[in-house]
């Protein structure tokens, strides 16, 4: 067991729309000895980071959550915040970087927020995938109960985990050819397929007003995975999952590829509750059949 406490920011979409993402993560953490300490009274991250460099107002939700994290972190002795939703990760990571790099902005924000302690930008905001990587994928291999051999997966990254790239920046891996999720699933015995569309945008919030754009984009992504005979697309993002699901619905049954959260597959491999739909879990078990190691 690793036995560590990490601050955890859930996010609204995940909490309200995709509880299986969060629940399967708690299962994984239980198996690995990671205790997720939910940031008290976290606010909505703001959904999209403001692109105007002086727009402090748009970042207040993120800053308030970081302040709450900072206070809780001092209590339990950690400065690491982990996030599951890739949109929330993108926003909080970027806001944290701005506050680290721009003293004027930090002072501005701290002056405005006069009802909470000042933010001292010492928190480290990392995606849950980065946390797993730092713990070491070999630890996952040790803990795995089921080998995922014979399972072909298409690891999807989307935009928010990869862009914008800058040194020590937002991207969790090489933004042009990320291989982090590939390494993760390989350590569990699965076979990541060649997936050139893994960093392609799913269409994002166009789903609201121009769903046609999402359909066009997700068709490319899904058929790329299909042409490599992927059994599953692994998603790290509630919105991408929603959009890819929408794309699947517009395709013939024979062209569809089921989309699951990477944490669900990982939970299954660790012998924990995966919160996968029964039908998909059965398909996976059939595929890896007879490989149950325990």
């Amino acid at each position: 067991m690793i036995a560590m406490e990490v601050l955890y920011y859930p996010g609204c979409s995940l909490r309200n729309t995709y509880p299986e993402f969060e629940k399967s993560t708690y299962e994984i953490c239980g198996k690995l000895g990671i205790e997720l300490v939910e940031i008290p009274e976290w606010s909505c991250c703001g959904v999209v980071p403001s692109l105007a460099t002086d727009n402090v107002m748009r970042h207040l939700g993120a800053v308030r959550s970081l302040i709450n994290a900072q206070e809780k972190g001092r209590e339990i002795g950690t400065n690491v915040v982990t996030i599951l939703c890739s949109m929330c990760y993108n926003v909080l990571k970027r806001v944290n970087l701005i506050l680290k790099e721009e003293p004027d902005m930090l002072e501005n924000v701290n002056n405005f927020i006069d009802d909470q302690p000042n933010y001292v930008p010492e928190l480290r905001v990392i995606h849950f995938l980065t946390l797993l990587k730092e713990i070491g994928f070999e630890k996952l291999e040790e803990k795995a109960k089921k080998s995922l051999e014979n399972l072909k997966v298409a690891p999807y990254y989307g935009c928010a985990l990869l862009r914008p790239n800058r040194p020590e920046g937002v991207s969790i891996d090489n933004p042009d050819n990320p291989v982090l999720i590939e390494s993760l699933v390989r350590s569990l015995g699965a076979d990541p397929v060649h997936f050139p569309f893994k960093g392609e945008c799913c269409g994002n919030y166009h789903i609201v007003l121009e769903p046609g754009i999402v359909e066009m984009r997700t068709r490319k992504i899904i058929s790329s995975a299909k042409s490599e005979k992927a059994d599953l697309i692994l998603s790290p993002c509630p919105l991408c999952t929603y959009n890819l699901g929408h794309g699947n619905e517009r395709l013939d049954k024979s062209e569809q590829v089921p989309v699951v959260f990477f944490t669900q597959l990982l939970a299954l491999a660790l012998g924990a509750k995966s919160y996968l739909p029964t039908e998909i879990e059965d398909q996976i078990l059939k595929k890896i059949g007879g490989k149950k190691s325990d």
Binding site: P10, C12, N16, E41, S43, C44, G46, G61
Partner: protein, 221 residues
């Protein structure tokens, strides 16, 4: 004595008075912005600043004592249309609340709503609880809301928080709490006409008789 400024004009008033009493002391007569005088109804919402402080304060005029150098104005009415909802057709979820009040998602987390609340409710925290999907937290945080509307006047996202909380509490009350037994019994009694005769007697009584009865009424101990 204290000097206060009512809509810009200076007055000397005893500093033991509430804002409401002070306004009456200098000669105004309330025809609105005055309700229960007991801190419950939210009609006398008053905005003020004090000298050498940038903060805009909100309090109930009937509850807050005057301070030297107060600049005071009362809001007679909060402009907001109450959206229609049908509780019977709704589910007790935060999504339903957001469907009626989509502007909730515009919350910037600036927290001026909380700072404006004369009841010390954590208004922003309750709005964020709704975003987080936690209906119960929002209900518990806003039980003391008197719907004065000060939060909604200050909100840069133009949310009418007090209306949001009313819907939140009603949804929760209808679907998530057990009905109070004594209340159900009383409603049944009313529907069966148990109090009909007594009410008719009062209606038919002449004014003097009614006044006498009022004076002799049993007062709750």
């Amino acid at each position: 004595m204290a000097t206060i400024y009512i809509m810009g004009k200076a007055y000397r008033v005893p500093n033991t008075l509430t804002i409401m009493k002070a306004i009456e002391y200098v000669g105004y007569r309330f025809i609105r912005s005055c309700g229960c005088r007991g801190g419950f109804c939210g009609a006398c919402t008053t905005f003020y600043r004090v000298k050498n402080n940038y903060k805009l304060h909100v309090d109930l005029a009937c509850q807050k004592r005057v301070e030297d150098g107060m600049y005071i104005v009362q809001l007679p009415f909060i402009p907001a249309e109450k959206p229609k909802w049908e509780l019977d057709k709704m589910k007790p979820t935060t999504d339903e609340v957001i469907r009626v009040f989509p502007e909730i998602t515009r919350c910037l987390s600036c927290n001026v709503c909380t700072q404006a609340c004369p009841q010390d409710i954590e208004v922003m925290r309750a709005i964020q609880a709704l975003r987080r999907g936690d209906l119960q937290d929002a209900v518990n945080l806003t039980f003391d809301c008197i719907s004065c509307g000060a939060c909604s006047i200050r909100c840069p996202a133009e949310i009418t928080q007090y209306q949001v909380f009313q819907l939140t509490r009603r949804l929760y009350g209808k679907y998530e709490t057990t009905p109070a037994k004594h209340l159900m019994e009383r409603v049944k009694e009313i529907e069966e006409g148990s109090f009909h005769d007594e009410v008719s007697k009062l209606i038919d009584m002449d004014v003097e008789e009614l006044k006498e009865l009022y004076k002799k009424r049993e007062i709750e101990k």
